[in-house]
Symmetry: C2
Subunit: 479 residues, 2 copies
């Protein structure tokens, strides 16, 4: 999966770079924030991921001879600049929120401090990783939350946006708490448990469903999982499953591990199948459900007391009908050793960028450990340890004063002067971290429908800075 | 982009293969159809694509030593079988609908005839290419149709499901009729025109918007495109654009090529900007609009007589909130040199597979050239040339008898005995073909909202075969 992704950048990143090059702006240091504005899937939370991809991408940036030749062929760039590009490396600083962290709208997921050219060229690929990985991880976690402890297996490869996206999705699903994937390449690359049952085609390829089950049982006697809905779950699938169990598995000292139901009314069928299996003394045979299961279906199944042990989920992890619109905005520049905040104005209040080099903090109740809210502050603000007032940036009258709290900065340093300074945890550690992150959230934030809106507040200084900058620009146009 | 994608397969494809291997079913020849059931995006049509990816994938299938080692480590497979896998190649036949073809629900986009093992192992990656490429191409074409001839540029890389998906999307958008992409890697790989303007950050990095425009103009005097909405489109952006044009471009013999508006009310602002530009004698400066433009917004803009020359579209091409659920179903097996149809039953009528080795035909009105409807027939049916009755498979009373028609088979042979037999057209040819395909569709099918449902009918023989197979299975359970 090591592909040179240097050229995966928008043309304007390179034309702007040519301009900065012509302007000799190599030492112009800027700050960019990456954030999304609105939570996807009407979710109360999102889960950060993509850090490993960003590390890999930045470490391997390199315009090779072929790339330079191609850029030359566009007749847009000077030879001096192409020569500069051929030696291009990222030498800046990156702070990032670690994989598995619960995150919210407008939070600075990534902050880049670098020369204007360097900060700009890495934009496109970083955004595509964040937009996809956060989408997958969030969608998967919502299934994990809805399943009330029943394992979720990710079976989505075929519905992904191509093979590489499938591998990304499998990785993200595991971080989010899925127990494994059907995707063999993801299993190999990330050492995620691979799992699966059988396809309908295996049954329709045989004259009799019984034969298909028997052949599978003979090849995998200790891992026999039958798909029972090809013809008729109750009249055929479960009948043949029991026959093969009695004819072959039990006489040879094995048990039927599971049956999977992939169509029909999963609540009704699962209860029927459970009853039949139990009557046959097959209480240990598990029931797996699949068929475009989303968190809402899953909740309904549990409410109706459907009998199942695990879920195979595909399109609702790898192809949720959702977008995470992470954007990357310039928020400050350095001038004469000073950090000067910058802003992008918009008629839509929500789209005005939060200016300045900032830090993101999460506050926890010292007693319960629950997260109370997040606050963005300017980088040099000192957070008091006894009492603190969080201010809603969209309604300054909406304040919350807290005491008896702890707090934690959410970003960690990833690159300093182009050097990786972060030890990216193992994928299993990320999964554990995600679980602990979710455990620190109030249940109200995690509610599937109409969740509580978690506080993403700001300090008075940041709010004032933003207002000042807006007024300054307003004055400028109006004379 | 040549990545070995052999391992991008669901585990069950390989466990089933182990079973077939144990069963010595190497010579069991089967037929699989790939099709989607429902058109995405409430569209009246979809556009086929992904053929080049499937060619590349199948030609490069190879489980390398690393892959075999990984599979061995799962303790699921026998050494004999792993040895077989290490020599695995695809030796079967594939028929496919060419890229750029207009396609509809239930149509056989791909048919695979191969040994059971081979047909099964290629399923996952083929589906992920079809599901993603058809989604992108269809979404892009809907924008192209809505734009009434105004060029659409694809700017979506940052919103794609990772860098490789971004490249797929750019390719698909071009096939669908977009004029170019911002994605430099796609430009390089597919020789698609690359285009772009500038980012807001370029303006906010400077003290004055004027300075940013001036610097860009100096670097790209013959390709000056200014983004004018960073502070205020009317009060600042267009004012500074005109200043730089007069201060630098015109005195040096250049013109301002375009301005881009990326926020605010695009209809109102574009009309104002057009008026101001025209008053300044800058009638030749084009207006580019962007900001999550979808076919509906685009239609509204045209209805309101917004003044623009082209559109940059991103998320509505690379991340449409839509899925194309292409599935891959076994429809026949060969037994004693005979093709025996197979079926997968479901309680949901729509989900019952159309059995048998089939062909897909499109009928055209001989006078107008418009497509009249498509018909699936069993492979050995002869299509009469004088009069033909199309039958709606969901309502047999709904028939249409046509005369004075021509017809065409939609699938072409792609692989025969594992050998590529198709010359995949150049991407520009595919774009032209897509345009001609769309031109052959009645406007009612292409309508953005509540389109006419195009006929995807079947022959009486196919309908009867399906009924017979369903009854046969029904009898089996009830007898």
């Amino acid at each position: 999966m090591k592909l040179n992704k240097t050229m995966m950048t928008d043309l304007y990143e390179i034309t702007m770079a040519q301009t900065y090059f012509d302007d000799k702006a190599f030492d112009k240091i800027v700050y960019f924030d990456g954030f999304f504005r609105v939570l996807p899937l009407e979710s109360g939370y999102a889960i950060m991921s993509g850090v490993d991809n960003i590390i890999d991408y930045i470490q391997n940036i390199n315009f090779d001879n072929d790339d330079i030749e191609y850029l030359r062929s566009t007749n847009k760039f000077t030879e001096d600049f192409l020569d500069y590009l051929s030696k291009f490396k990222f030498n800046g600083d990156v702070w990032i929120v670690p994989d598995g962290t619960v995150v919210f709208g407008n939070e600075i997921l990534i902050t880049v401090r670098a020369s204007l050219i360097e900060a700009q060229i890495i934009e496109t690929t970083i955004l595509s990783y964040l937009n996809s990985c956060i989408k997958y991880t969030t969608a998967a976690r919502r299934l994990v939350e809805a399943s009330n402890g029943k394992p979720i297996m990710e079976f989505g490869a075929r519905r992904a946006d191509g093979p590489e996206a499938a591998v990304l999705a499998s990785k993200c699903a595991f971080i989010a708490g899925c127990v494994g994937t059907s995707n063999v390449m993801a299993g190999k690359i990330y050492d995620i448990p691979v799992m699966g049952t059988m396809a309908h085609s295996m049954i329709s390829a045989e004259d009799e469903e019984y034969d298909a089950f028997m052949k599978y049982a003979k090849s995998f006697p200790d891992d026999a999982n039958f798909l029972i809905d090809t013809y008729d779950t109750i009249k055929s699938g479960i009948v043949n499953s029991i026959k093969v169990t009695k004819d072959f598995l039990i006489p040879n000292g094995y048990r039927l591990k599971s049956v999977r139901i992939d169509s029909g009314d999963l609540s009704y069928l699962s209860k029927q199948v459970r009853k039949i299996l139990d009557e046959e003394g097959m209480e240990d045979t598990k029931i797996v459900l699949s068929n475009s299961i989303d968190p809402y279906t899953l909740t309904s199944l549990l409410v109706q007391n459907a009998k199942f042990d695990s879920v195979g989920a595909g399109d609702n992890i790898v192809a949720p009908k959702a977008r995470v619109g992470v954007v990357y905005k310039l928020v400050a520049i350095e001038e004469n050793q000073e950090i000067v905040p910058r802003i992008k104005i918009s008629n839509e209040a929500l789209k005005i960028v939060n200016p300045g080099y900032k830090k993101l903090y999460r506050f926890y109740d010292k007693e319960t450990g629950y997260a109370l809210g997040d606050v963005m502050a300017l980088h040099d603000e000192v957070i008091p340890s006894e009492e603190f007032t969080l201010i809603d940036p969209l309604n300054e009258f909406n304040t919350t004063t807290i005491t008896n709290y702890t707090f934690k900065e959410l970003q960690v340093p990833l690159f300093i002067n182009g050097k990786l300074v972060y030890e990216d945890p193992d994928i299993r550690e990320k999964q554990k971290y995600c679980n602990s992150q979710m455990a620190s959230m109030y249940p109200e934030v995690k509610r599937l429908e109409y969740p509580h809106k978690y506080y993403v507040d700001q300090t008075q200084r940041l709010i004032d800075l933003k207002k000042d900058l807006i007024l300054e620009h307003k004055k400028q146009f109006e004379g």
